[in-house]
């Protein structure tokens, strides 16, 4: 018997001895949808649906410290949240944070992308460097800006004082009205490159011909930008806005590292407020606040998708 023959005759015997391999061999050629859908479905159920359903369940119950059990309270937590001025304040702070950061990152991102959209020598390196802030962990970014905005040693405070827009006695992060802008600086520094990358990808994918046609039609650079570039980038911008807005609305890390929600509750955003309540052991109310964040996001995101006809 040749070597090949012996290998052929021993293969089924090997499989019979190895149940896992036999099972896999059967599953990997299966026509049934179950083995293919199972891994993704299991992940979604375990990490998406279960926490959501559990949060909803939590928001309808209350933890009793004496009986050490949950009791059903219906919509009580929701009613409490909707009449909680601190929740409304946190929602306001979150909205301000989202809108301002989004506007600045969008404008800066588009501007920088337009500047970097060249094929000259060195621009590739610049485009690569743009991604650096994205790989810094947000907590490290927060710490970095905390140091730079420090009233004593902060480099940004130093230049702020030099320009007359800051006072050493009143550092930005300690200012009730402007602390949120200090946190925004960290976000803008870290996430503007994301917008740049998305816009660069969009700009590079634009067809050249319409721009040449517009140049012949008589459009100047400004008219080409407003009448062609901006509308043609609309779809890309809509997707970028959606992704960033959702991310911004869930802001937690910079606030945690830089201000702890303070001074007072000046920078207390919704997720941070929910986290704070969670640490006090009021899991049900924390879950309710988190669900409010989710509901606001779903409503706003869907409105945006409908309004701007975003297609994925």
């Amino acid at each position: 018997m040749s070597v090949a023959d012996s290998a052929r005759s021993s293969a089924p015997a090997d499989l019979a001895r190895q149940p896992v391999r036999r099972f896999l061999a059967r599953v990997l050629v299966s026509d049934h949808p179950f083995p293919w859908l199972f891994p993704a479905t299991a992940m979604i159920l375990a990490f998406g649906i279960y926490p959501l359903v559990y949060s909803i369940w939590l928001s309808l119950h209350e933890w009793n410290r004496f009986t050490r059990s949950f009791s059903f309270v219906g919509g009580e937590q929701w009613a409490k949240a909707l009449t909680d001025p601190r929740m409304w304040h946190a929602l306001g702070v979150t909205t301000t944070y989202t809108v301002v950061c989004l506007a600045v990152e969008l404008a800066l991102g588009l501007g920088i992308a337009l500047l970097l959209d060249r094929d000259r020598r060195g621009y590739g390196v610049l485009r690569g460097l743009m991604t650096l802030p994205l790989v810094v962990p947000p907590a490290v970014t927060g710490l970095m800006f905390l140091l730079m905005l420090d009233g004593q040693f902060g480099v940004l405070t130093y230049y702020g004082v030099m320009l007359g827009i800051l006072e050493r006695a009143q550092p930005l992060l300690g200012h009730t009205s402007f602390a949120l802008f200090g946190v925004m600086l960290a976000d803008v520094w870290q996430w503007t490159p994301f917008m740049v990358l998305i816009f660069l990808a969009g700009l590079r994918a634009l067809p050249k011909d319409p721009f040449e046609a517009a140049a012949i039609d008589g459009a100047n650079a400004f008219q080409i930008f407003w009448r062609l570039t901006v509308p043609m980038l609309g779809r890309v911008a809509a997707v970028a806005i959606l992704i960033r807005a959702i991310d911004l609305f869930r802001i937690y890390d910079y606030v945690y590292v830089m201000t702890g929600g303070g001074p007072g509750t000046a920078t207390e955003v919704l997720s941070f407020y929910a986290g704070r309540i969670f640490t006090t052991g009021n899991f049900s109310y924390a879950a309710t606040i988190s669900l409010i964040t989710l509901v606001v996001l779903i409503v706003v995101a869907n409105l945006f998708i409908r309004l701007f006809r975003v297609r994925f």
Partner: protein, 362 residues
């Protein structure tokens, strides 16, 4: 409605184009009179589109001058050259309606609303697009999009129309239809037009003058039939005409009956009594397929049929004659099969001779 149309001549003086250190156009000289329809014809990569883009101002000029209406326009921006261009991929503004696409240039010039309306409707009526003005480019077929691109060019009132392979994205039927439309439009407006194509049928059917280009140089300039009947060299002879001209390498030999062409593979082909080549000279013998006829005469050339193609009115015969592949087109019925031996006779006054060394016509 009749519109006043401005026309201008175009002249190219020693135009050179280099991409980095690589020259792609080597000193092109061309005079295009007012109102002419000139076709730049050549294979891909010969520099015809680059030349057109230089006239449009979309490509920098490395050397020489472009003159429109007698004025050097080298330094002028595309929008200041009073030209209109129709691109291969239509180049429509996808987010604008057909009306807005056509009105775009006039809006930029801050034209009055009623003038824009009148002009767009005039262009749309010429192109049969009146009922599509509210649609978006994505809702149109390829032919309709090309019409919008032409409409956009029309409303500009240009002195010169530039067409960069405008029909190459259309199917065969539509291409023929649009070809006729463009030609009819030119006859109606009389605007100087420069049209780039690699399709020699387009060139032959549309042009007043054809400029045949190869490797950044003009190979021949002339009226379509001049180019077809008197090609300046082997390249033009083989590029213009489909099926291409039969070109056989060999030498001139003489006998008592006059000069004869002896092909390298062994076939012998007749020549007129007077030829511009000496006995023994290496030449390329050219004969167009339609200038070959079936014959029963002894002095005609023997050929073995390898393939027969019927187009309806014509029969294309592909055959081997003395080791060389040749093609003949006949309009009569022939009951023959591949492998069968036939005799072919060229029309003696339609024979072309080229110098084998230089490739130039003799």
């Amino acid at each position: 409605m009749r519109e006043e149309i401005a026309v201008a001549s175009v002249a190219l003086r020693n135009i050179v184009k280099r991409f980095g250190v690589h020259p792609v156009l080597h000193g092109i000289n061309l005079e295009i009179p007012d109102g002419a329809f000139v076709v730049l014809l050549g294979p891909s990569g010969c520099g015809k589109s680059t030349l057109l883009r230089m006239i449009a101002g979309l490509e920098e000029i490395s050397g020489g001058d472009v003159l429109i209406g007698g004025e050097v326009v080298n330094g002028r921006r595309p929008r200041d050259r009073n030209i209109a261009m129709v691109f291969q991929n239509y180049s429509l503004y996808a987010h604008m309606s057909v009306f807005e696409n056509m009105a775009f240039s006039m809006r930029l010039r801050h034209c009055a609303k009623d003038e824009i309306e009148r002009k767009v409707r005039w262009a749309a009526s010429i192109l049969g697009m009146e009922s599509y003005l509210g649609r978006y480019p994505r809702q149109l077929s390829g032919g309709q999009r090309q019409r919008v691109a032409m409409g956009r060019a029309l409303v500009r009132d240009p002195e010169v129309f530039l067409f960069d392979e405008p029909l190459s994205n259309l199917d065969a039927q539509l291409r023929v239809a649009m070809r006729t439309e463009i030609k009819a439009l030119h006859q109606r407006l009389g605007t100087t037009s420069i049209y780039v194509t690699h399709d020699q049928i387009e060139a032959m059917t549309m042009a007043d003058q054809i400029v045949v280009m190869r490797d950044g140089k003009v190979e021949q300039l002339g009226a379509p039939m001049d180019i077809y009947e008197r090609p300046a060299n082997i390249f033009v002879a083989s590029f213009v005409g489909a099926p291409a001209m039969n070109l056989l390498r060999g030498r001139i030999e003489g006998d008592d009956g006059g000069p004869v062409f002896a092909a390298e593979g062994g076939g012998r082909w007749p020549l007129p009594r007077e030829v511009a080549a000496r006995r023994g000279q290496s030449v390329v013998y050219g004969i167009r397929p339609e200038d070959l006829a079936l014959s029963s005469e002894a002095e005609s050339t023997e050929a073995t049929i390898s393939l027969l193609e019927t187009t309806g009115p014509e029969l294309h015969i592909y055959a081997q004659a003395g080791g060389a592949a040749i093609c003949g087109i006949i309009r009569e019925r022939l009951d023959a099969k591949p492998g069968q031996v036939i005799r072919l006779r060229p029309q003696i006054d339609r024979i072309h001779l080229f110098d084998a060394a230089t490739g130039g016509a003799l």
